[in-house]
């Protein structure tokens, strides 16, 4: 278990809406290796986002156990969850979720505001992160002046600035055209290979999913299939080159 970064044991999540119960996850048992690149696929409503929320400690499972880097995190307090989100997890969303009317730099600095990082160090780290995603020179542009691809780069910079062990991306290319999507995927692959950040990504797009080394298929809250993609490694290194 200790060599796995994520280990899930029979995770369920039940939403209670009035009288009715929605079983979003019905018992997920799965493990993710360190530095892995995992894609989660499946039809709409199959529970992908619900699973991502639990992996990202934004939500708690109704039952089951979740070990993150060997530590049971299924029943932590809100503050403990916040601290782990801050230090170990980076999020990338489909709709970017940047703060409006603020600069790229301010957005990237945001996680460090809650990590007791001094303002000078925070600034340096944010500049560095923006450079990694190819946005050097765009630091002081307001987010509403950026293109979709640039906004998603800012979001990635924000996700990686606190040097997390995992980045969780829920349909990160969903709002982008295929060319911009491919550029974003190149950045993810580089982070995964060069920085050994574990990557879990939800996508509907098989082309995007083919970047990942493993693919997990969900349906009705259960894992229905798992595939290993042997060509992913070559492909990723070719594009990352």
């Amino acid at each position: 278990m200790s060599e796995k970064i994520i280990h899930l044991e029979n995770i369920t999540r039940v939403y209670q809406i009035g009288e009715t119960q929605v079983q979003a996850l019905r018992g997920i048992t799965y493990s993710v290796d360190y530095s892995e690149f995992l894609a989660i696929m499946g039809p709409s409503g199959s529970g992908k986002s619900t699973l991502m929320s639990i992996l990202g400690l934004l939500d708690k499972p109704t039952s089951g156990r979740y070990f993150l880097e060997g530590m049971d995190v299924s029943q932590l307090s809100k503050d403990q969850m916040a601290a782990i989100r801050n230090r170990k997890i980076g999020f990338v969303f489909q709709n970017f979720n940047l703060l409006s009317r603020t600069t790229a730099l301010e957005n990237v600095e945001l996680p460090m505001l809650y990590a007791s990082v001094g303002s000078k160090e925070s600034r340096e780290k944010a500049m560095k992160a923006l450079e990694i995603v190819g946005l050097k020179g765009w630091e002081h542009h307001r987010t509403n002046q950026l293109s979709g691809g640039q906004m998603q780069r800012v979001a990635i910079a924000r996700a990686l600035v606190n040097e997390p062990s995992i980045i969780l991306a829920d349909e990160p290319t969903g709002n982008l055209d295929s060319r911009t999507g491919a550029e974003i995927m190149d950045i993810f692959c580089r982070l995964n290979q060069e920085r050994k950040i574990t990557l879990v990504m939800v996508t509907h797009d098989p082309v995007i999913a083919s970047y990942a080394k493993r693919r997990l298929y969900l349906k009705d809250g259960l894992i229905v299939r798992e595939e290993t993609n042997h060509s992913a490694e070559q492909r990723a290194s070719a594009s990352g080159g």
Binding site: A83, R87, P111
Partner: protein, 408 residues
């Protein structure tokens, strides 16, 4: 460090919406300014009265007609006619704790000298008035016992009157007309150094009380008696002796109410200060209602702001903000608004109370801004921010991160 950075974030958020922030704090500005200005009026009146009584001396007593605890409809001042000059004389002669008395009766009259006109208080007194009130003449002399006995048409000017009628001219020996009757000016009282019109003691003319009774008002009573005890620690004894003597002179049966009252300077100062204190509290509380209204304005805007920024809150939670970070952020925003408004309000309030003297309606009112009222206004505005900012901030901090991130 942490608080400082959250403060930075809050100020940045507020400056992003300058117009709205300003309109939000306008209520607080007006509220705080109103509290400070109103309290300064009350405080000014109180201090003025206290200084006045302090300068009168501590062994001073007053005898007024009318019961201290009268029942039913209050009789207006001057409605009593039972105090006579003989009472003053008897008190001076029979009470050994008393060293001097001066009967008192006044009226208002038009005063004319050459082409100048002045409307002022004509204060009828005995010849011992300067001694009892510790208020000597600066020029000429005060009238003497013989002039009082003769109801002489002589007068001593208050410095304000002298200034208005004579300016730099020497008034001694000149004749002025009080209600068309010619009076000879024999002296000028020392200035008490007061400004303005309402309570200015220098704005008066002293004449023998007999003259006011016979020539100006045509009455046979006086309205009060100034009494000076032999020393400050004898005032209570003097008061007892006067009461005993007066009950005897006025044939008051044991058990029935006095038809007069004796009050010492401390009593009078106390009740005057109390009435101004009530005024201060009244003015202050009316003004503070606007502070509360201002607070509700802040709460309203903060609630709007929280709703507008649900996504932002979701993002902050996702990147690791704890509940208390969000609570603090919005609370600090509210407090920055209210304290900012409070500080501007303090400046506006001090300015207003300074300018008040120049507005004709408030002529003669001195305003005193005390550090206490500034501190009070500041603390009050900060607490308004905390009180009215807490609910919206708590609402923000309790948001579920997933729902907040999904919010449209």
């Amino acid at each position: 460090m942490k608080i400082f950075r959250i403060l930075q974030v809050s100020i940045r958020a507020l400056t992003r919406n300058k117009m709205r922030s300003f309109l939000t704090i306008l209520g607080i500005i007006i509220g705080v300014a109103a509290v400070i200005a109103m309290v300064s009026v009350g405080e000014g009146a109180k201090q003025g009265i206290q200084q006045r009584f302090a300068s009168m001396g501590t062994n001073l007593l007053f005898v007024y007609p009318g019961s201290r605890n009268f029942r039913g409809v209050a009789t207006g001042a001057g409605g009593y006619t039972n105090l006579k000059p003989e009472d003053a004389k008897a008190i001076e002669e029979n009470c050994d704790a008393v060293q001097a008395t001066s009967p008192s009766i006044s009226t208002r009259a038009q005063v004319v000298y050459a082409n100048k006109n002045w409307n002022t208080q004509i204060q009828g007194t005995g010849e011992k008035f300067p001694f009892i009130r510790d208020w000597p003449v600066s020029e000429g002399t005060y009238f003497d016992e013989a002039q009082v006995a003769a109801a002489a048409k002589v007068c001593v000017l208050g410095s304000e009157v002298k200034q208005n009628l004579f300016e730099d001219e020497d008034p001694i020996g000149k004749t002025i007309r009080i209600s068309k009757i010619p009076f000879k000016v024999i002296g000028v009282l020392e200035s008490k150094g007061e400004q303005g019109g309402f309570f200015n003691r220098d704005d008066m003319i002293a004449v023998p009380y007999t003259t006011v009774m016979k020539r100006l008002r045509n009455v046979d009573y006086i309205t009060s008696i100034d009494v000076s005890a032999v020393s400050a620690d004898k005032t209570e004894e003097a008061q007892r002796q006067i009461e005993e003597l007066m009950r005897d002179r006025h044939h008051i049966m044991p058990g029935s109410d006095d038809d007069f009252q004796v009050r010492n300077i401390a009593d009078v100062a106390q009740s005057a200060a109390e009435s101004t204190q009530i005024m201060t509290i009244l003015l202050g509380s009316i003004a503070s209602i606007s502070l509360i209204v201002g607070g509700i304005g802040i709460m309203n805007i903060m609630l709007v702001s929280v709703t507008e920024r649900i996504r932002e809150i979701g993002v902050r939670l996702a990147v690791g903000a704890r509940e208390r970070d969000i609570l603090l952020q919005f609370l600090i925003e509210a407090v920055v608004l209210s304290v900012g408004g409070g500080l501007i309000g303090i400046i506006v309030g001090i300015g207003t109370s300074r300018l008040m003297k120049y507005v004709s309606v408030f002529q003669g009112i001195t305003t005193v801004v005390t550090p206490g009222s500034i501190l009070l206004a500041f603390i009050f505005s900060a607490s308004v921010g905390i009180f009215f900012g807490y609910y919206p901030a708590r609402k923000a901090s309790r948001l579920d991160p997933i729902e907040a991130l999904r919010y449209e």
